[in-house]
Each structure stands twice: as structure tokens, then as C-alpha cells.
């Protein structure tokens, strides 16, 4: 017998489907947890952040404590009589525990990465959004500033400036922050250009909202996902640049435990004790990889239509 669906039955079925349909938040959660890159990146980054925060608790020794009698102990996986569980990753040329310095080094990398990213993010976002929203002459001026900045080689200018004003943690952060805002500006400019012509912005303009209000309540929320992606990329960029500067001796100064500096200090010994450069190198690689995976993943998850 054919079933004849009654009006109330249909209504009830739609109601049930609506109740059972996943909410946008649930959909987002599902996308996040099914994205392998995002999960792997998030977990590695989370562990490194935890390591940096808990450094005094986790580290077995003091990062500055030199024991020359115990210098250059190889890590435990080396088939050497000197290898000991007292120093799982060995010790450096001054007898400092390598695991301790590695743990404290995470603090420097994260501190510089986050601070330089915030400084460059504020500059780049501000000029990018202004250029994208106002267009015309403002856009021309900003495009010119971006082009000028891009034509000056980052590493060279950073090295020159640091050598002139002297290197310290704060100097490195400010120099990097003031140099790497270009991608923020480029991406925010084009993202704002896209949003500017939407109806809701026109509507806000029509009802007489002030420009700052439109920028804050209409533009900002809609360019936020692009901002987060660039922020992760630039954080990784700043971390790599700090490591390169420290490696060349013009970044963070010894005896601060920075991963780039650790590689630099071990350079002369790398032919005999290769692990001295592989351990901090792998740490840097994992941190940057985690941040990049997180950034790529966030782009996929927040804008699934742009995937590929």
C-alpha cells in the first residue's frame, strides 16, 4: 500500500532533519579534527609551546651552567662509552647540557616569532586595509611603499642595521618586525578590496556608519581568516630569520640559548660531532613545519572553497 504523506508528517520530518543537522560550529569542528596537517601541526606546536612555558620545570640543568670536565658528551643513541642518561642529548663545547639549552631555546624562538609577527602584523594590516578600502591615491602610495620595501634585501638590511646599532634580543625583534610586514600588507590589501565591494559594506555606508566603524565591524571580521594564515607564515619566517641572524653572529648574543646560535657555536665542531648541529636544526625544522602546517590547515578549514 502506497504511503500518503500528510502535511504534518512532512513538517515533522523537516523539523527532525533540522534538529539533527549539524550546527556550523560542529561542521567547523569536524573539519578541524579531520584535517591531518592541522592536527599534526597543532599538536607539535602545542608541545613546543608547553616546553617553552615549563622550561624551568622540565630542564634538568641550568642553561648557563658550564662543566668543562663534562664537555662534548655525545647523545645517548651514540655508541660511545661517554654517552650517559645524565645528559640524554649530550653536552656542548662548554659542557652545558644540550637538552636544557634546547628547551630554553624554544622560548627565544617563540618570543621572537610572536613579537616580530605582532609588530609586522600591526604595520602591514594597517596600511594594507587602508590601501584596500580607500583605493585611489592611498592605494598607489601604499603599493609604492610595499615595492620599495620588497626591493631591499631583508637579510642584508637586517644584518647591516643590527651591526650598526648593536645586537640584542629587543633589537632583533624590532628590526625583523619593521622589515617583514610586506606579506601582511599585500594580502590584507587584496582581501579588503574583495570585501569592500560587498553589499553589506555598501549598506553600512548607506546608513551612515563612520569609516572606523565600517573598518572594525564590517571589514575586519571578514578578512580575519586571511590575517591568521599570514600571521602563522610570518611567525615562521621571523623564527627562520632570527636563526639565520644568530647563526651569522648578529642576532641573539651568547650565552643566550637560541637554536640558531647553538648551530653557529657548533659549526667548527660539526665534522667531528655532527649531532651538535642536527639537534637544534631538527628542533627549528619541527617548529617551523608545525607552524606552517597549522597555517595551511587553518586556510583549508576556514575557507574550504579556496582549497587546492
Amino acid at each position: 500500500m502506497a504511503t500518503v504523506e500528510t502535511a504534518t508528517g512532512a513538517a515533522a520530518r523537516i523539523g527532525v532533519e533540522q534538529v539533527l543537522a549539524p550546527s556550523p560550529a560542529a561542521l567547523l569542528r569536524r573539519r578541524v579534527f579531520r584535517h591531518w596537517g592541522l592536527m599534526i601541526g597543532g599538536v607539535i606546536l602545542g608541545l613546543i609551546v608547553l616546553m617553552a612555558l615549563l622550561a624551568p620545570v622540565l630542564a634538568p640543568y641550568d642553561p648557563y651552567d658550564q662543566q668543562l670536565a663534562r664537555k662534548l658528551i655525545p647523545p645517548i643513541w651514540h655508541a660511545s662509552a661517554k654517552a650517559t642518561w645524565a645528559h640524554p642529548l649530550g653536552t656542548d663545547h662548554l659542557g652545558r647540557d644540550y637538552l636544557t639549552r634546547l628547551i630554553y631555546g624554544a622560548r627565544i624562538s617563540l618570543l621572537i616569532g610572536v613579537s616580530a609577527m605582532l609588530i609586522s602584523g600591526v604595520i602591514g594590516t594597517a596600511i594594507g586595509v587602508l590601501a584596500g578600502y580607500f583605493g585611489g591615491r592611498v592605494d598607489m602610495a601604499v603599493t609604492f611603499i610595499i615595492t620599495t620595501r620588497l626591493s631591499m634585501p631583508v637579510v642584508l638590511v637586517a644584518l647591516a642595521v643590527v651591526s650598526i646599532i648593536g645586537s640584542s634580543l629587543a633589537v632583533v625583534i624590532w628590526v625583523l618586525g619593521l622589515l617583514i610586514w610586506d606579506r601582511f600588507a599585500v594580502v590584507m590589501r587584496s582581501a579588503t578590496q574583495q570585501v569592500r565591494s560587498r553589499e553589506y559594506v555598501t549598506a553600512a555606508q548607506a546608513v551612515g556608519c563612520s569609516t572606523p566603524r565600517i573598518l572594525l565591524t564590517e571589514i575586519a571580521p571578514n578578512v580575519l581568516n586571511h590575517l591568521i594564515v599570514v600571521a602563522t607564515l610570518e611567525m615562521a619566517h621571523a623564527i627562520l630569520l632570527e636563526a639565520a641572524l644568530s647563526f651569522l653572529g648578529l642576532g641573539v648574543q651568547p650565552p643566550t640559548p637560541s637554536w640558531g646560535l647553538m648551530i653557529s657555536e657548533a659549526k667548527g665542531l660539526m665534522f667531528f660531532d655532527g649531532w651538535l648541529i642536527s639537534i637544534p636544526g631538527i628542533a627549528l625544522f619541527l617548529l617551523v613545519l608545525a607552524i606552517n602546517l597549522l597555517g595551511d590547515g587553518l586556510r583549508d578549514v576556514t575557507a574550504p572553497e579556496n582549497r587546492g
Binding site: 615595492t147 620599495t148 631583508v154 642584508l156 651591526s163 648541529i277 627549528l284 625544522f285 613545519l289
Partner: protein, 305 residues
């Protein structure tokens, strides 16, 4: 096209001028250059003589215009420490860095374009995933660490290549790989995206429908159009590489512009540093201008200035 070209040329000149102003002010922000040249413990008379000799006693605007007009004639002043004209030193070292940059971009293109095409022809296949993984891994490796690792394996453990110097082509293999691999992911992604887009277009369907062989369609029709953005990316990246080669040249002790920059920074030789930044900026501006003009020439839609 002419209007577009002249406008772009004007902007390029203005950028170069601005960079020259910024690099010039570097000297004067850094304190009294005469003191820096004289070194510690020099007498007041010596410092005064140096100030006269280098012309630091003139107004800054005059010094800038003088330096700029010199730079336009290929004269960047005298090095503080090398006791010879900066221009001579720079143009002796520049070819080495350009050769290194060319080898690096060559390496990147040879690796990235086939990978990108392969990834685009079979999207979501094993090859595609492998190429994307390579890209993610490549972008996370610190250049200097990768360079040291290459030295350790190819140079020391396997003894395949010389470690330092710039005498033969073999000296350039490792530095070119170390400098070029960083660009590979960007080129690969762009090639993949370009080929994917072109393969979905109507004229490719027509070419397939009239029975052309798949290889002919891919190489003669698709790649030719997909490669245009890659060419301009390569030009821009080449400019970045010349600036970024400072780390690589220092590690491999290649006698190029990057190593000269490093030496000048160590010796606080400001005229040389200044000139290197300016030369690299001018090269970058020229390359991007050339890329823009080439794109506009190939694709008239881009000529709207």
C-alpha cells in the same frame, strides 16, 4: 603598451631613488662616520682630516646629491677599509653571485616544474601528495642548516663535492642546491595551479577533441600558457636570491657579493654596504619591471596601469 611601459618605468626609478635615500641615511643614523673610520684612540686632528678627505664636513643634502650623482656614473666612493673604489670591488664580485643565483634558480625550476606538472595532471594522486609534502618540508628547513647538512654528507662523509671556494663549477653545486631549494615549493605550487586551471579550459578540450596526443596537448598547449606566471615569479625570486645569498656565500666562502656584504658588515665599511644594498635593489627593480613588461606584452589584459 607604451603608456603602460613608461608609467612602470617611472615607478621603478622612483623606487630606486627612495632606496638610495634610505641606504644613504644609514650612514648618518649610525653616528659620526669619521670617528668610525679613524678607529679608537685617534687624535682630533686625524678625525678632522678624515672628515675633510671623505667630505663629511659638507651639508648632508649636498653629500647625498654628490653620492647619488657619483652612483649614477658608477662611482660609489672609496671603501673605508679596502683602500680602493667600492665600484671596482662590487663589479668584480657581482658576476660570481649572479652565476650562483642563476644556478640556484635553474636547479629550482628543473626540480619544481616537472613536479608541478605531474601533480596537476593527476590531482590527489600519490605523486601530487608527495610533491605537496616535499613543498611543506622544504619550506620548513632553515637554509643555513640545510647547507651545513649538505656539507656534512656530500662534502665530508661521501666526499663527492668540494666544501668551500669558488674556483670550479663543482664548487657551485651545493650552494646552488642550498639557495635554490627554498624557492622550489613556491614554483611548484604555481605551476600546479596554472596547469590545473589551463587543463580545465575550453581550448584544451577542443585540442583533445580533435584527437591530439595527450603529450602534445600538455606540452604544446597547456604548459605554454601555464608557464607565464612562473617566469615572472622566477624573475622576482632571482632578485630575492641575490639578496639572500649572503648566508650561503658566507657558509661556502664563495667570493661573491654576499660574502663581500658580510665582510663589509664585519668591518663596518659603510660605503660598501650602502652600495651593495643599492645595487641589489636596482637589480630587483629591473627584474620585476622586466617581468611586468613581459607579462603585459604576452597578455594585453594586464596593460591597464
Amino acid at each position: 603598451m607604451l603608456a603602460f611601459a613608461s608609467k612602470r618605468l617611472g615607478v621603478a626609478l622612483l623606487v630606486a631613488l627612495t632606496v638610495s635615500l634610505i641606504t644613504f641615511s644609514m650612514i648618518h643614523v649610525s653616528g659620526d662616520p669619521a670617528l668610525a673610520i679613524a678607529g679608537e684612540g685617534a687624535g682630533a686632528e686625524t678625525i678632522e682630516a678624515i672628515r675633510k678627505f671623505y667630505g663629511f664636513d659638507r651639508p648632508i643634502a649636498v653629500q647625498y646629491l654628490d653620492w647619488l650623482s657619483g652612483a649614477l656614473h658608477g662611482d660609489f666612493g672609496r671603501s673605508y677599509t679596502l683602500r680602493q673604489p667600492v665600484a671596482d670591488v662590487i663589479f668584480a664580485r657581482l658576476p660570481v653571485t649572479i652565476a650562483l643565483g642563476a644556478a640556484a634558480i635553474g636547479f629550482a625550476l628543473v626540480l619544481a616544474i616537472p613536479l608541478g606538472v605531474l601533480a596537476a595532471v593527476k590531482p590527489n594522486s600519490l605523486a601530487d601528495r608527495l610533491a605537496l609534502t616535499l613543498a611543506v618540508v622544504g619550506q620548513a628547513m632553515p637554509t643555513f642548516w640545510f647547507a651545513l647538512t649538505l656539507i656534512l654528507w656530500l662534502g665530508v662523509n661521501w666526499r663527492l663535492l668540494p666544501i668551500t671556494g669558488s674556483d670550479s663549477w663543482q664548487n657551485f653545486v651545493m650552494p646552488a642546491i642550498a639557495l635554490g631549494y627554498y624557492v622550489t615549493p613556491a614554483v611548484m605550487r604555481l605551476t600546479r595551479a596554472g596547469v590545473l586551471e589551463v587543463l580545465a579550459s575550453d581550448y584544451i578540450r577542443t585540442a583533445r577533441a580533435k584527437g591530439l596526443r595527450p603529450m602534445t596537448v600538455l606540452f604544446k598547449h597547456a604548459l605554454r600558457n601555464a608557464i607565464i606566471p612562473v617566469v615572472s615569479l622566477a624573475a622576482v625570486q632571482f632578485g630575492f636570491m641575490l639578496g639572500g645569498s649572503i648566508v650561503i656565500e658566507t657558509i661556502f666562502q664563495i667570493n661573491g657579493l654576499g660574502y663581500l656584504a658580510w665582510e663589509s658588515i664585519q668591518r663596518k665599511d659603510l660605503p660598501t654596504m650602502q652600495a651593495i644594498v643599492l645595487v641589489l635593489a636596482v637589480i630587483y627593480v629591473t627584474l620585476t619591471l622586466a617581468a611586468d613588461l613581459l607579462n603585459a606584452f604576452l597578455d594585453p589584459r594586464l596593460r591597464v596601469a
